[in-house]
């Protein structure tokens, strides 16, 4: 399995904690795998829950009219990169 960066580990833990994923540990989330439907099998409720956790932890507001909203949630790697970029910009 591909290794997670330190920040990806942090975001993976946030995903597991905020979504109460009982049968997955943070370390098991493949950085490049799909988070939704095909990978972890998350859905729109999870997306909303995750958005709340991200805004609390990093002050980054997720918006659905972002052109790249689908890409943001594409994988742990994409999500972590989005948070880092927007946290840095603010």
């Amino acid at each position: 399995m591909a290794s997670q960066t330190a920040f990806e580990q942090e975001v993976a833990q946030l995903i597991v904690d905020s979504l109460n994923l009982e049968d997955v540990t943070a370390g098991e989330i493949e950085p490049e795998d799909a988070l939704f439907r095909d990978g972890l099998g998350l859905d729109s409720i999870d997306a909303l829950e995750l958005a709340l956790a991200i805004s609390r932890a990093y002050g980054v507001q997720i918006r659905s009219d972002d052109e790249n909203n689908r890409q943001i949630f594409a994988s742990l790697r994409a999500l972590s990169a989005h948070i880092e970029a927007n946290r840095a910009a603010s």
């Binding site: 905020s18 979504l19 109460n20 009982e22 049968d23 439907r37 099998g41 859905d43 729109s44 409720i45 997306a47 909303l48 829950e49 958005a51 709340l52 805004s55 609390r56 507001q61 997720i62 918006r63 659905s64 009219d65």
Partner: protein, 449 residues
Amino acid sequence: MTDPTTDMRPLIAEAPEPLARIGDRRVSRAAFLADVQALAAQLPPARAAFNLCQDRYHFAVAFAAILLRGQTNLLPPNRGRTTLAEIAGQYPDAIALVDGPDAEIAIPVLRVAARGEAGEAMGPVPAIPGEQTAVLAFSSGSTGTPTAHARSWTALHAVTAQALEALDLAGHPGPTLVGTVPPQHMYGLESTVLYALLGHTTLLAGRPFYPEDVRTALADSAPAVLVTTPFHLKACLRAGLEWPSPTRILCATAPLSPDTAARAERVFGCPLDEIYGCTEAGAIATRRTTRESAWTTYPGVEIHPGETGRAWVRGPQHPEPVPLPDHIEVQDTRLFRMEGRLADQLNIAGKRASLADLNRRLNAIPGVLDGVFIPPDPESDTHGVTRLAALVVAPKRSEAEIQAALADCMDPLFLPRPLVRVDHLPRSATGKLPRQVLLDLLAHHGQCA
């Protein structure tokens, strides 16, 4: 016999308010009608068409075009392949009107891309026969195939007029409806599409989802009415944002606690009204949750205790009395309390389903020898949404295969989390599955994972 020429109802109300807002652009009623007429001309002859449009303006254009063509809007409860195929089986000539991805099944599609820029329609507003079936809304029945609930155009006129009167939304100038609910849901159709078509309000084309989307939409659309669900409202309250004040909040799909309602009124600085309804009867009652726990029916709608413990409701929009899927205490013909759901009914984030139906669908999957859904504890009110769990006996199917088969026939909200495969279910001598035994088995597997 009714003379059809005497019961013609207008397709839209004539009002100075725009019909829609697309971003910061307003679409007049005449421009909307031009889009509707252009789309109706493209519809092939049929009895009905799926309206799967996600953008609310596209949905409204498709909805009205289907009516204008003398057809019925098919509104599926979810977009699972099995669900759509079951409905398509009953309406083999139906095409799908879409604006995003194609339909999940192989049926002809017509893309809706109207943006209110095709000019303005001339002449009088078209009229639709009142008895025409305007929509078939489907709920997951306990019988197997999705159960269709028909609404005539007269019935939709009636419920909309009742709601606008009960909610005091009939005046000018009408606000803009900012909806977080999909238009295919009866509540979404009534409160975010019909209030605009048949009233003086304006619909917002977009469907804000994240709290920041909702905040931006409210700020850009003042005066605005937020049309939402407990699920979305709680998420907005938890987001800790500075909220622009809508003129009011409408909330439906599951009851809101008085505490949450009070908090919402404080944070948003406006009154909050809840609407009670169900797919079977449509919206029928309202309450100002911070002031009253009982529901008052819409004007002209009466509620009665049933003989078998199931209350029923009847208004001008109901050709027959409609039994309600909840435990209801009727206080008088226009006042009632909702005491809880019937045992078989589930509500996850505002979506209803029948537990018996979910279990039947699980056990219908090839390779599943036995299986049972376990509803969440109704007492647990942790933040977020509690999911169903499932125990499944399926030695030759993987968890992913079973989840994929379930996703074809139910809303993703009902997909079990976790789904645990076991050697056999702990059935008692009578074949029953005691809840505590199931929970113990589930907990045991959680520890082993």
